[in-house]
């Protein structure tokens, strides 16, 4: 199983219940501090250092030592992605440091080779026998890790996700600044429709949604965004709880800086510099660890669909989300009524009404999201939607969805602990039409 071998991917309907259902579990998680940006000079706040901090915390949470790890899974992606020119790597214009900080690796991205070379205690006994390159980002990567454990590649997998943010604005240089639009971009960039970030397609799906169902954007989105900020403050590791609360209110939200109207700045997650780590192990090993195991009941990858023409239509967007939901339910053997905790991905708030209605969580159907979110969606009420606070409530670490689901199911969420049953969870880093969801359970059966 390598990342080139795509056979591990559960990326379509008809695959049935996952053969690894209940055979692996989350045994621990850990977060580094969250900085708004790396300042380019603080060597104790590089992503390389933060990988060690987050991994040590995850191991401690599981009651393990570094030498217990036999599988290392690291996503070396840069947050800005490819094709952004100088803004993709952000680095080349500044001086490097003495080894091991003589390249971006260890500073703003981290590969498994860098970590193994620079954190000797991790591999003190040559215990790490499986460390594949180019592991996918956290949405698909945690599924990849779980599948590796099921397939016997390792017994204690350490998955580490790095989220970088530096000075300046990324995705403004490189091909983004070009006066010409080659390839696929010839059909959208000329009019300013930069679709690489997915935000335009989703914004337009949601403006169509508002038109069809007679919903005002702010009436729909503000209660969700506000609840996420409140929930995030109950995470002691989150950006706002460690760097100062947003003190968001409806007036601020409505009047906040427009990006693609009607979407405002608070509809978008705040980029941060931070690292999250997770321990995925066999169901057998997990039983003897510090906390109650949180079993992985299914993982999915791929996409629910795409636009037939230039821009995705509401019908296409809803159909694609519905397919993703069917994949999750099919693979886990669960149904909407079985899901207690629901932490879908919220990098843009506009994803959320679609996932809520497609998954039918707590019975919400098409066009019903506004009424639902204007009811009681608080942590301690009957519908604790997005109990982790997501990216919007914690910063763009892409980890809150997983951390909260683990904590709720093992009953260690503290003041964030829901008062309703918490035995199953859906969580994801699944932008737009991505199918990269996990289904978790406190019972392997």
């Amino acid at each position: 199983m390598t990342t080139e071998d795509r056979s591990w991917r559960r990326d379509r309907e008809g695959l049935g219940v996952w053969n690894g259902r209940g055979k692996t579990a989350f045994a621990g998680w850990g977060m580094s501090p969250i900085d708004r940006r790396w300042d380019g000079v603080s060597m104790d706040r590089t992503l390389g250092e933060y990988c060690k901090v987050a991994a040590r915390a995850a191991l401690e949470d599981a009651g393990l030592k570094p030498e217990d790890v036999d599988g290392l899974f690291m996503c070396p992606d840069n947050m800005a992605g490819a094709n952004s020119g100088a803004s993709a790597s952000w680095g080349p214009s500044r001086p490097y440091f003495a080894p091991p900080y003589d390249s971006e690796d260890g500073l703003t991205i981290v590969t498994n080779k860098w970590l193994l070379a620079n954190w000797p205690e991790l591999n003190a006994n040559k215990n790490v026998t499986y460390a594949p390159d180019a592991v996918p980002s956290i949405g698909e990567g945690l599924g990849f890790t779980a599948q590796a454990v099921v397939d016997g590649k390792c017994k204690v997998g350490l998955y580490i996700y790095t989220a970088n943010n530096l000075d300046g604005r990324y995705r403004r240089g490189g091909t983004f600044a070009a006066p010409k639009a080659p390839g696929a971009s010839q059909w959208n960039n000329p009019w300013g429709a930069n679709v690489i970030d997915l935000q335009l397609n989703t914004t337009f799906a949601l403006t169509q949604y508002c038109q069809r169902y007679g919903v005002d954007w702010d009436d729909l989105m503000f209660p969700i965004v506000m609840q996420e900020h409140m929930n995030g403050l109950m995470n002691d590791w989150g950006f706002y709880s460690t760097n100062g609360a947003s003190h968001l209110n409806r007036e601020d939200y409505v009047n906040s800086r427009p990006i693609t109207s009607p979407a405002h700045i608070w509809d978008y997650d705040r980029p941060v510099n931070a690292v999250g780590a997770f321990i995925v192990t066999t169901a057998e090993r997990a039983k003897d660890m510090k906390h109650k195991p949180v079993y992985i009941l299914n993982h999915n990858q791929g996409s629910g669909g795409s636009a037939r023409s230039s821009s995705i239509t509401l019908d296409e967007y809803e159909a694609a989300n519905a397919k993703v939901a069917r994949m999750c339910y099919e693979g886990s053997g669960l149904q909407a009524k079985d899901i207690d905790i629901f932490n879908p991905y919220d990098g843009f708030s506009s994803f959320l009404p679609f996932s809520l209605e497609a998954f039918g969580w707590h019975g919400v159907g098409k066009g019903e999201a506004r009424d639902f979110v204007n009811g009681d969606i608080s942590i301690h009420g009957p519908h604790p939607y997005l109990s982790g606070g997501g990216n919007l409530g914690n910063g763009r670490t892409r980890t809150a969805m997983y951390i909260d689901s683990i904590e709720q199911l093992r009953g260690t969420a503290g003041e964030r602990q829901v008062t309703v049953k918490a035995e199953t969870a859906i969580c994801a880093f699944a932008p737009a039409l991505s199918a990269a969801y996990l289904v978790l359970g406190s019972d392997p059966h």
Binding site: P179, Q186, P190, F204, R257, T260, S310, S311
Partner: protein, 134 residues
């Protein structure tokens, strides 16, 4: 408006050549009669490779609209706030186009309004299709 200049490729060259003649064409499937835009190597409906081109009316309607106020594309940021609409083609509403709706101020767009194709000049003097409210 400083449109970003599209770069034709082998597949899209007939389309952009037609735009230079102020004609709007779409791909047409010889096998199943389906229309599609943007052009693709195969028919999205029947997977046939045999595709030709067909002139269309250039009439459409606004499906939805937003306003770009902080674009990722610095070339277009000069025009902000800038209408960005999605327009469906009356010949086949499954086909849609991005549009800046020249002539209509931002925030004054009516969803559902009728539009027609217009051919606007790019910074390099070439033409590009956009849509105007009629």
């Amino acid at each position: 408006m400083p449109y970003i200049v599209p770069v034709p490729d082998e597949l899209s060259k007939p389309f952009w050549d037609a735009v230079q003649e102020k004609r709007l064409i779409v791909q047409h499937c010889v096998a199943c009669n389906s229309l599609q835009y943007p052009p693709r190597p195969r028919c999205l409906d029947c997977n046939a490779e045999a595709m030709d081109w067909k002139d269309v009316s250039g009439k459409g309607h606004i499906l939805t609209c937003g306003v770009l106020e902080d674009s990722h594309l610095p070339v277009r940021a000069a025009d902000q706030p800038l209408n960005l609409a999605v327009v469906t083609l009356d010949d086949d509403p499954r086909i849609n186009y991005y549009a800046n709706l020249p002539g209509t101020p931002p925030f004054q767009v009516t969803v559902g309004a009728a539009v027609e194709v217009t051919f606007e000049e790019c910074p390099d003097g070439s033409l590009i299709h956009d849509w105007r409210v009629i």
